[in-house]
């Protein structure tokens, strides 16, 4: 991956916000965080014609695609954005999580909360199985292997019996009620809050992780794997961890998704899902959590908002991706903060 030249656009949301954030006190930061989180929790009640979706139920759009995309994009960001492992088969983990809940919930009556954990465990196990041999490879070879893995999981789900074959599985149990909130088929709001809570937990864990050894190791591997290895970083170990943790988040997302839609078919888990989530990561700004979350929310939101264009919306969506990448190749909120450059003579800040 070329790191020599990174073009930085003049207007930079990250810089503007970064400058403001540095000047705040501890209390201001806590208030800001609480307000932001509260805003996201009451978002389903804020359905209005301006930013709500007029043609489809706003709270169900908030759950899928928006919430789901954000959660999965954050997971994939650990793999692609942080560690530089191009994974084109992320949907496989999503499918494993979804089928774990569907099969264990239907056949053995396992509780949803148990299944989320098991789904994550199975996804991690699959990640180890694929990752141990595959992560020795790099770049496009790794990409094509992961792409193949995603397709294999889908085709196996079509061709074996315990997944219900091409017809899939129906009547997947909903989560049991928690804190008096019932999970009902016709009300997507509890599911949105569930995804939001999971996302916040993941963000919290992610923020702690990237400030410590694993995060620094991942960044070193992304920038130059050979140098990282010379510096004594166990590259294969950390790459495997990134792959497996990203997979676990995908698996958890899959279990939640299956519990909401109540019926799943293998065709839901095709290559387009992997590509869509990858697009979210790159569109938002690879390696920058907030950019990725914002980009995923936007990419989930646009096709629904553009529903008035009805059939042609994916057409405009494709066009938007091309134009967007041409204008801001590092994503909406880039990873790199613009370095401040000071003029030698005057000592004033100058733009590059």
């Amino acid at each position: 991956m070329s790191t020599s030249k990174i073009s930085i656009p003049k207007f930079n949301l990250r810089d503007k916000f970064g400058d403001w954030w540095e000047g705040t006190t501890r209390n201001q930061r806590i208030i800001f965080r609480v307000l932001l989180i509260a805003f996201f929790y009451i978002l389903p009640f804020l359905d209005n014609p301006v930013f709500g979706t007029t043609e489809s139920d706003f709270s169900s759009v908030l759950f899928y695609p928006m919430g789901m995309y954000v959660l999965m994009a954050i997971g994939l960001n650990i793999v692609v954005g942080k560690s530089g492992i191009l994974d084109l088969g992320y949907v496989a983990f999503f499918a494993i999580g979804a089928y774990t809940h569907a099969i264990l919930g239907l056949s053995f009556g396992f509780n949803f909360w148990v299944n989320v954990v098991l789904g994550m465990a199975f996804a991690m196990f699959a990640g180890v199985l694929l990752g141990l041999p595959a992560l020795r490879l790099r770049g496009d070879y790794l990409a094509i292997i992961t792409l193949g893995f995603g397709e294999i999981v889908r085709i196996v789900a079509i061709n074996v019996n315990f997944t219900g074959g091409a017809a899939g599985l129906a009547g997947i149990p909903a989560p049991p009620s928690i804190f008096g909130v019932e999970f009902l088929v016709d009300d997507p709001r509890p599911y949105y809050w569930l995804v939001l809570t999971l996302t916040l937990l993941v963000i919290w864990a992610y923020m702690r992780l990237i400030k410590r050894r694993p995060g620094r190791a991942w960044e070193a591997i992304r920038e130059d794997e050979d140098v990282a290895e010379f510096m004594g970083i166990a590259t294969t170990k950390y790459k495997l961890w990134a792959f497996v943790l990203g997979g676990a988040i995908g698996g958890g997302a899959g279990a939640v998704y299956a519990s909401q839609v109540t019926s799943i078919v293998p065709e839901l888990f095709d290559l387009n899902v992997s590509i869509m989530i990858l697009a979210c990561v790159v569109f938002g700004g690879m390696g920058n959590l907030w950019g990725v979350a914002f980009g995923a929310a936007l990419l989930g939101y646009f096709p629904e908002k553009l529903r008035f264009l009805s059939d042609t919306r994916i057409l405009f969506f494709g066009l938007l991706m091309v134009v967007m990448m041409n204008i801001r190749p590092d994503g909406i909120i880039p990873r790199k903060k613009r370095e401040k450059v000071y003029d030698k003579n005057t000592g004033k800040e100058v733009s590059r």
Binding site: L137, I155, M321, D330
Partner: protein, 316 residues
């Protein structure tokens, strides 16, 4: 699991494998050429192929074929088919060049991240698929039967038909021509120079923009011709026809060592044969699983593909 079919139908499976492999090869060459000069997977290449199949269909419609008439004689067929091939090649070739200008050129000049170009190409791919889904009404479109598909002669269990012969002769002719272009012309030398080292090529006076545009044109023309052969052999298309064929052709390119032209040919024929034999043994459903499993095994034990250069360490 039925291994006896491999013995009894060996010649037939072998012939079909070679024919399918020849079509894969023409598409795989497009992937491998672009990878050679740009170190990028051209994700929209399968859509260039799809566009070609509809160009073929368009020509037959303009010529007034409805799909119900008798197959035409060999002389008239050759004229018609050459016309179809040329139109498809022009359509796909110009689309590929346009794609390079719209989706790649600006990003390349900015020195942007490789993944940004990938997303840009994916966007272009979405756009083309959706455009054709809307234009063609999401329907399956049948290509008229231009050539009598009765067996000309038999070799063991294989029925050699005229369409398979046309595909084989045409594809091999084109591969030979491509080899001459790459090895013997100025632009071909430019392609090889840029593939080896872009910066040095610039210093040696190679016009990189021109070479890259020419590479996309070559890849597009090959995909256009492949689409004409595909239509002759399979006689049907749909807006999403590019997806599975693109994955197979790309797999073939990787199998042979991506960036390596002769490797792509070998990989394509190997993949065509593997797919035919594995579908005969395990059933058609498992074809793609087998394809990918073999790909994974090859990459693990011979990561540079069958004939690849050691690019995976050099270019990450």
């Amino acid at each position: 699991m039925d291994f006896s079919i491999v013995v009894s139908e060996f010649a037939s499976l072998f012939l079909d494998g070679i024919v399918v492999g020849a079509i894969y090869a023409l598409v795989a060459l497009g992937y491998t050429l672009v990878y050679g000069v740009l170190r990028l997977i051209n994700f929209a290449h399968s859509e260039i192929f799809m566009l070609g199949t509809f160009a073929c269909l368009g020509v037959t419609m303009l010529l007034g074929y409805t799909g119900y008439e008798e197959p035409i004689g060999i002389g008239l067929f050759l004229v018609t088919f050459i016309l179809i091939t040329v139109v498809a090649a022009v359509a796909s070739g110009s689309a590929a060049m346009l794609l390079e200008v719209v989706a790649y050129r600006r990003l390349r000049r900015k020195g942007a991240n490789r993944l940004s170009s990938l997303i840009s190409a994916i966007g272009a791919s979405f756009f083309l698929v959706e455009l054709f889904r809307l234009l063609t009404d999401s329907k399956d479109w049948d290509f008229p039967r231009l050539l009598d598909k009765n067996s000309l002669f038999e070799v063991s269990s294989a029925y050699v038909t005229a369409d398979k012969l046309v595909v084989l002769i045409g594809a091999f002719g084109l591969m030979f021509a491509l080899d001459r272009i790459i090895q013997g012309t100025r632009l071909g030398r430019g392609i090889r120079a840029v593939s080896q080292d872009e910066k040095t090529a610039v210093l040696m006076g190679v016009d990189v923009d021109k070479v890259i545009a020419f590479t996309f044109l070559l890849g597009g023309v090959l995909a256009g011709v492949a689409s004409a052969f595909y239509m002759l052999f399979y006689e049907a298309t749909k807006f999403n026809v590019g997806f599975l064929l693109g994955i197979s052709a790309f797999t073939a390119a990787v199998l042979g060592g991506i960036g390596n032209i002769r490797g792509a040919l070998a990989g394509s024929f190997a993949l065509g044969l593997i797919q035919q034999f594995s579908s005969a043994i395990l059933g058609y459903n498992w074809r793609d699983v087998v394809t990918f499993l073999i790909l994974v095994l090859v990459l693990l034990f011979k990561p540079t593909g069958l004939f690849g250069e050691a690019i995976q360490r050099a270019r990450v």
